[in-house]
Assembly symmetry: C2
Homo-oligomer: 257 residues x 2
């Protein structure tokens, strides 16, 4: 199943995507929401992030070639970081490059686990049973700020820097998929989604030794490629078996055209 | 006014604290919740964190003497960091020291701003008008983990590491108050709450250049003292004009007694 969340006449609504229609639910899939008969056309819908997490977990260096490329050190243990909800935006909504950003302004294509149950001291089988489904995230990063600032506050958490979607796919094994990034339709990066240093279940097992994870929490799994984006581009991140997260890149300043 | 949030028969409820009673509200004070006639006694109530934020902002080095004490560098700009909601707990609930924590296990007494409106590119007067009220936070920190780990994930975000409360005081100027920390009733630290490098409005003005802040977001303002805690202690953080946040410290292992 594909759970989505859309703007339905100014109010957020959860839905199930089936071909070219969305069957709206009477509540969150995390609370057992079921189709209530309302149907919307996929065409023209405004997609929202499919979930707004209580805690927004994000993994840093988690692909061997990305770590080597950035001269970083391979992590010895699965240690989560965090992102902020203000930065979330949906499929087809613009990524806005702030006025002060120059040089490297990059997409990081990531698979995202959506947690469906409360977890503490989870075993690996419990972690594997705890996922509602999988979606796609773009961990947009302004590198000058990332290097200059004490924290990732504006380099990774400025408004619109965390597109997520288009939906949560429940019936997919993310570890055997392919992640493909396209800029204006041309493939610029491609890697096996599952070639991670630590997989999502490693992270959940380690994290929940100390931390209770809750329904709706999301875990972004890191990227094996970074891709430069310029205002005017359209950035597509496809993960086979899940879908395509597509976002135009705008400039905070009025566009040149 | 003092807005609180309590466990009312297994369900969270907002309330107004008036002397020894709590007048329950029909909704969040952020949504205009008003007293609905239900009254509860303060005695024996289970206090919850007075708000669960969409984004949990926290400021690092923000007091001159604390920065000098830790041989850190004074921040040149107000740059926020983040904490995680799983770690929140209420007034009188235990802080649980995890089994693996030894050596420095410390309280950091902080004043907390609770945002009441949506803010982007806020002016200083807008920032000053944007605060619902002020509460107290204890930024519990396990120093060995803080120094060993890549992020603050378990050192500052393990379950129960972020007591917040007891309530949100709307009628106080936090910048002219005194923060006092007591361990088992003995004063162990005392400092002027307002002796900050950057004040809350500096942070809001700078943050909202890039980031939209939303109703319910919290901003923890840093500490000018750290205090060692041991299982069996009771840690009180008092900020004059707001109240006292009190939490017993437990060990994850069965207590010695």
């Amino acid at each position: 199943m594909r759970y989505c969340r859309i703007d339905d006449g100014g109010r957020p609504a959860f839905g199930l995507v089936e071909d070219d229609v969305i069957r709206l639910l009477d509540g969150s899939p995390l609370d057992g929401g079921r189709p209530d008969g309302r149907v919307r056309a996929v065409a023209g819908v405004r997609w929202l992030p499919p979930i707004v997490p209580g805690v927004f977990y994000a993994v840093g260096y988690n692909y061997r070639s990305h770590v080597e490329h950035t001269a970083g050190k391979l992590p010895e243990r699965p240690e989560v970081g965090y992102r902020a909800n203000n930065a979330l935006t949906g499929h087809l909504s613009p990524i806005v490059r702030p006025a002060g950003v120059e040089n490297r302004f990059e997409a990081e294509p990531e698979v995202v686990a959506v947690v469906r149950r409360t977890l503490k001291n989870a075993s690996r089988p419990e972690a594997q049973e705890s996922i509602l489904g999988w979606t796609i995230g773009n961990d947009v990063s302004a590198r000058d700020w990332q290097h200059a600032d004490r924290t990732f506050w504006r380099s990774k958490n400025s408004d619109t820097f965390k597109p997520m979607g288009p939906w949560i796919e429940t019936d997919v094994d993310p570890m055997v998929q392919t992640t493909t990034v396209r800029i204006d339709g041309s493939v610029v990066a491609k890697f096996p989604t599952g070639a991670m240093v630590f997989d999502p279940f490693d992270y959940i097992v380690e994290t929940t030794k100390y931390i209770t994870m809750h329904p709706g929490d999301v875990l972004w799994m890191g990227a094996d490629a970074t891709v430069q984006m310029e205002p005017g581009n359209v950035v597509d991140i496809e993960i086979s078996g899940i879908g395509v997260l597509s976002n135009p890149v705008h400039s905070e300043r009025p566009p040149d055209e």
